[in-house]
Symmetry: C2
Subunit: 336 residues, 2 copies
DNA sequence: TTGAAAGCGCTAACAT
DNA sequence: ATGTTAGCGCTTTCAA
């Protein structure tokens, strides 16, 4: 079917007005369902709108409303593995309100970051979302007093009056540990990442808490890097100790996969002899693991969606601040 | 007419004009370095601009220039692993021209995708970049006759007059194979993904080509899924055959990692007995591999940067079409 | 119920 | 060299 699509020069509200034989004010009212119009002309205008394939220029509209219908997402993660699902959830929600998301990559260079921010502000963004690779990294530019809503997602914002959205790391580790306990495990170790991550501390706390609730002694707690190599090294250590654990709660999926490999290569059967849980539910990793890895999902898509929800409310004027932690979910596979 | 000072709300060009004791036209000229101004007033205006922390409203500017200073990036990949580096390169280049990137997630639902596109067009984007998970998937919405530059990156666009940017898959596989040949390998197999991927065909061609150039017979060519499991299965098959290969060129890093695991578990030493190359240079995967994996890097950041470059030119009116393939790079690690 | 007109913040042609 | 003015495409009073 051929549409009379004018490739050059999009139709303006004047074109519509002329074609419909009304004034531009009337067209505007029809488009926005404001003022009062006879049902008849409203319909006639809308028909013309469709036939001309007219799309109102939102930039011109913004001049009046003061709202651009766009927000900025600034990430220091080079758009990494954690940013993507957050972005997905965020964009999914915001697009329902016709709000666009400008993605910008925060470098470590404060000057460049400032310039980036200025570009966003010049584009009149209605709000700002800040994401980070690790949850306790702070943005290198001061975002206070910008006069627009700021939401920190998966990153720590100490801006007073700002809103921070994080996964419930502690609850997530609790889930995994509790699951193992219910499966009859009694000597549950925790192999995790570097001490200076807040998430590491919280996950350890969740692990400890679940054990305490079941009157079990905590197994060894081992800190290292977020790598498979560390998972393998830690497992070797654990298995050569006096009392072998019968389960390991890992701080992330990479570590868990290292554990799984080390166990298999030592001839220790997982999950029969030692069960294993990961953290992140990084699908490609968890499924490639042998056995497929039970893992804690931080529901980052949800986290992003929640950020989108909050953002639309804040753009409308709602106040929000403080820290919100969203629940994690356990995805059970073959390693438990 | 003029109201008393309102402290809230960003400064406008009027505020600057008043504070500097000039007309708004003069301020505009100073800001854009157009017309002619005395060095003196130019400086005075710019000082006022800084002291008021004035940021010109680009939306208002767009009304004249017809350019919004933003482009859309539409991806059917849920912002996956391949989209992010492309985005990084793209945004890095475009931000230098103060062009913002709207990221939108193309669903498989054509209606929703159409709505998404309409939102972008209503926001007056100056260009569109289309990305995909697999290079031969086509967008579900017709992008022809939009009247704006369209660039397909890592995705096939058959829009005539459109520009497509792809990695040189064939050259990449050639690089890996040639590297193995130079290392003295003679029986080089190829374990890769599903037949119906264009990239699979091209990589196989590059492998074949490099072997032919060295007067070597192609080893077995095996198609399967993009998974570690397939890598393991293929390796088992290869190693039980009559003539073992002394090297395997893999279609991606996951397959290669499966091969590495299978070799190790069969007691075959890599790279001494069988060398291995991957494809994607997915760092976390390649480095976790034992031994660390030599892999072909598609330089997706570069690809994105190139797209950004082309886009700025096309926005300025340059015409470009056809398909451009950018070279891959071999990252040598321990598996060769 | 409709239209005319005054802007939103800015640029650019035209005066002075 | 600087100011004045007419818009860019739209919304929103205010008259008719």
């Amino acid at each position: 079917m051929t549409e009379p699509d004018k490739p050059r020069g999009a139709a303006t509200i004047h074109d519509v007005a002329r074609a419909a034989g009304v004034s531009i004010g009337t067209v505007s009212k029809a488009l926005n369902a404001t003022g009062s119009l006879s049902e008849n002309t409203r319909k006639r205008v809308m028909d013309t709108v469709r036939s001309l394939n007219f799309r109102p220029n939102t930039l011109a509209r913004s001049l009046h409303t003061g709202l651009s219908g766009s927000v900025g997402l600034i990430s220091n993660d080079s758009f990494g593995r954690f940013t993507m699902p957050i972005m997905e959830g965020l964009e999914g929600v915001l697009s329902q309100s016709s709000i666009g998301v400008f993605m910008v990559n925060a470098t470590d260079d404060a000057d460049r970051e400032r310039a980036h921010l200025d570009q966003l502000l010049a584009k009149q963004i209605d709000g700002l979302i800040v994401t980070a690779r690790r949850a306790d990294r702070r943005p290198s530019v001061d975002l206070r007093g910008l006069g627009l809503p700021v939401i920190y997602v998966f990153s720590q914002g100490d801006t007073p009056g700002g809103l921070t959205l994080l996964p419930d790391d502690q609850g997530g580790a609790w889930l995994a540990t509790d699951h193992l306990i219910r499966r009859g495990r009694r000597r549950i170790a925790h192999v995790t990442g570097p001490r200076d991550f807040e998430a590491v501390r919280l996950r350890a706390e969740g692990w400890r808490e679940a054990l305490a609730a079941a009157n079990l002694d905590p197994g060894p707690l081992m800190h290292g890097s977020w790598t498979e190599a560390w998972g393998r090294a830690a497992t070797a250590q654990l298995m050569s100790g006096p009392t072998r654990p019968d389960a390991i709660v890992c701080g992330n999926d990479l570590i868990a996969r290292g554990c799984a490999d080390a166990l298999r290569e030592a001839g220790i059967v997982c999950p029969t002899e030692v069960a294993l849980t990961g953290f992140d539910n990084w699908t490609v990793m968890a499924e490639a693991c042998r056995p497929a890895l039970t893992s804690v999902d931080m529901n980052l898509i949800q986290l992003g969606a929640e950020a989108g929800q909050k953002m639309t409310q804040m753009i409308k004027g709602a106040e929000a601040s403080g820290t919100l932690r969203l629940p994690c979910t356990l995805v059970v596979r073959d390693s438990t």
